[in-house]
């Protein structure tokens, strides 16, 4: 059992008293958000050691992708981060586009950004809801899912599906936005701004909520960087690492938005980053709808698509962090290797550090604040 040196010294003084109770959280547990299993060693309510066990959802998607033509792989990515399927679609499409040097029409880029930000709101709402439930505020769950339903309705109208959208293609998007979509989105933006205020009143300002989240699970900046965490987890620790700003893709360099960064590094900061990102997403949506040009939405590609041999990677700011696809091509219709750098996978690896010394009740808060999706971790 690896224990840090300071821990070791305190342990040796009390080792006669207890050797810790091993408790198995998951794979079926209400707050592990999927089939994550944590082996905890407890001393009373204190966590001494945590070992995450993953792989219960492993489907070998990367290997499956090696056996299929490039464009057949897009629907599989829906099953990675199933709460933000469009981000995954975009990630793999961008990677194939870079590999094959495919240009995307302007309008398609704007549509992609619009869908991406709607998706981000939907995903953060799931976070908000489940995080609320984890901490006992069950009502927040229902409110967040009520509003998520509005986003899903919009996405359903545009893409035809509610969860596994598969609506990004190599070289654009399959179809233009439906008629009157912009008005509906703007109406949603208006409603949602008010609902965000309501969430703040219900949860963010709540004293109990703050005392449950502030100074819990503090992740220092250097540790967050060294562990390669990304997304809200890293930004809450004071690093402004947002792919949309660091390496702008699509039209993110043409829209104006702020990247919320907090220095506290605790659960509270991670929560605030996500809440603020929803505000920023609304801003982006409004700008995108204002600036969207007319034109085609898809580049015609040959029926059998053979990119030249080489290595390419793409990175996308998914709601959970840096989602990166890496593809190796040898010039044949199938990729040699598809690697998915799943943000949750890396973010979860920092969990043992965060949990050491925390309380059992904080476990769910910390795990919830990392916001993992097991479909993406196990791939």
């Amino acid at each position: 059992m690896p224990v840090s040196p300071e821990k070791q010294s305190t342990l040796s003084t009390v080792e006669i008293l207890s050797q810790g109770m091993v408790i198995n959280v998951g794979p079926q547990h209400p707050s592990t958000h999927g089939v994550l299993r944590l082996i905890l060693t407890l001393d009373g309510e204190q966590i001494l050691h945590c070992e995450p066990v993953i792989g219960y959802l492993h489907r070998g998607l990367e290997k499956m992708m090696e056996r299929r033509p490039y464009r057949h792989n897009i629907p599989f990515t829906d099953r990675l981060d199933y709460l933000a399927a469009l981000s995954n679609n975009l990630g793999i499409c961008q990677c194939i586009e870079r590999l094959g040097g495919v240009e995307v029409p302007e309008r398609a880029k704007y549509i992609r950004v619009l869908l991406m930000e709607l998706q981000r709101i939907a995903s953060h709402l799931v976070f908000l809801g489940t995080f609320g439930t984890d901490l006992g505020a069950t009502t927040m769950f229902l409110y967040a899912f009520r509003e998520r339903e509005l986003v899903l309705d919009l996405l359903e109208e545009c893409t035809g599906a509610r969860l596994t959208y598969n609506w990004i293609r190599v070289g654009g998007v399959p179809d233009d936005l439906p008629d009157g979509f912009a008005e509906k989105v703007l109406a949603f933006v208006k409603v949602f701004r008010q609902r965000l205020k309501e969430y703040d009143q219900l949860l963010t300002r709540n004293r109990i909520f703050r005392s449950r989240t502030q100074n819990i699970g503090v992740l220092p900046k250097d540790l967050a960087l060294a562990y390669g965490t990304s997304g809200p987890v890293l930004r809450a620790s004071g690093v402004a690492y947002d792919i949309r700003k660091v390496d702008p893709y699509e039209v993110y360099d043409r829209v104006e938005f702020d990247v919320p960064v907090f220095d506290r590094g605790d659960v509270w900061a991670r929560y605030l980053v996500r809440m603020e990102e929803m505000h920023q997403s609304l801003r982006i949506i409004e700008q995108v709808l204002r600036d969207m040009p007319d034109g085609p939405v898809q580049t015609k590609l040959p029926k059998i698509f053979k990119p030249p041999a080489g290595i390419a990677y793409s990175r996308v700011e998914s709601p959970r962090g840096e989602l990166s696809f890496m593809m190796v091509s040898d010039g044949s219709p199938n990729p040699v290797r598809v690697h998915i750098r799943a943000p949750s996978f890396v973010n979860l690896s920092v969990l043992p550090c965060l949990l050491e010394g925390a309380k059992v009740a904080d476990l769910v808060a910390i795990l919830g604040s990392i916001d993992v999706v097991l479909g993406e971790i196990d791939r």
């Binding site: 707050s31 901490l135 505020a137 109990i208 769910v364």
Partner: protein, 328 residues
Amino acid sequence: MIAAVIQFFEQHPLLWTFVKAVVLASFTLMIPLAVIWIERKVAGFIQSRLGPLHVGPHGTLQTVADALKLLLKEDIVPDGADKRFFYIAPYIAFISTVLSFMVLPFAPGWVALEMNVAVLFVIGVSLFNVVSILMAGWSSNNKYSLLGGLRAVAQLLSYEIPMVLSVLAVVFYTGSLSLTEIVEYQVKHGWNIWHPPIMIAALIYFICALAEINRTPFDLPEAESELVSGFNTEYSGMRFAFFFASEFANNFFITAFAAALFFGGWDGPILPPIVWTFLKVFVMIFVFMWVRWTPPRLRIDQILRFAWQLLVPVSLVNLLFAIALGVK
């Protein structure tokens, strides 16, 4: 006819006691059905849902159906469980609730047992509940149950103290330990709640009541997102139903007790006394539910710190005030 029945029971007091016991026990079993239905409806409406709808008009019979389902379920006892304790724990919880209902005055004369130390009795028997939770948590031989049970005991015992102190304030104020007398005092002198020290006592009582019946800011013992279901994780079927019933009956009792202590019990104009009792109880139950579905829950150390560092001293000082102002 009625006179004959009364006379018959007067001649056979043992039989009369038996009838009262049966009525009370079935009342304690029936009340949860109503309270759970209200809870589900209120929760649903607060959460933009509709709640139960299909069984009976507006789903009123849903809880009855659920109770029947629970009673018909297989009674599973885990292999490693300490069987004796595992078997009796739910019944102890239930009996402690029934016992506390025994001294509760619903209306003038409507009380199963007129006892001059009713308040003391209630405080005494409600502690059985703690014992049953500890038994359930320990005997299940499940780590989650154990954690839940230990948390529950720590929490219930901590909150018992400020609660008793705030109840004592009322006792000193009215000068009686009998619930009936406390209510009668309020009928004459106005509700206790309007007097400043009792107001604070009522607030403390309200907070402690939330903790005693494991309601949301204090629902740690059964924090389902952490401990699956806390002390009753391993229970199913009828035993689980008894835990559940006793929890909701307790919910009813604790508000009825508060109504008697602070809000004048059956006192009220026009409507008959029994209606007033139930009205007050259900308004308070609604407020409890309203609170339950709003905030997140606290952590165990925060809960205990809150009880010992704030509630206990405040209720002690408050008790002194009540004595100074109230004793005649």
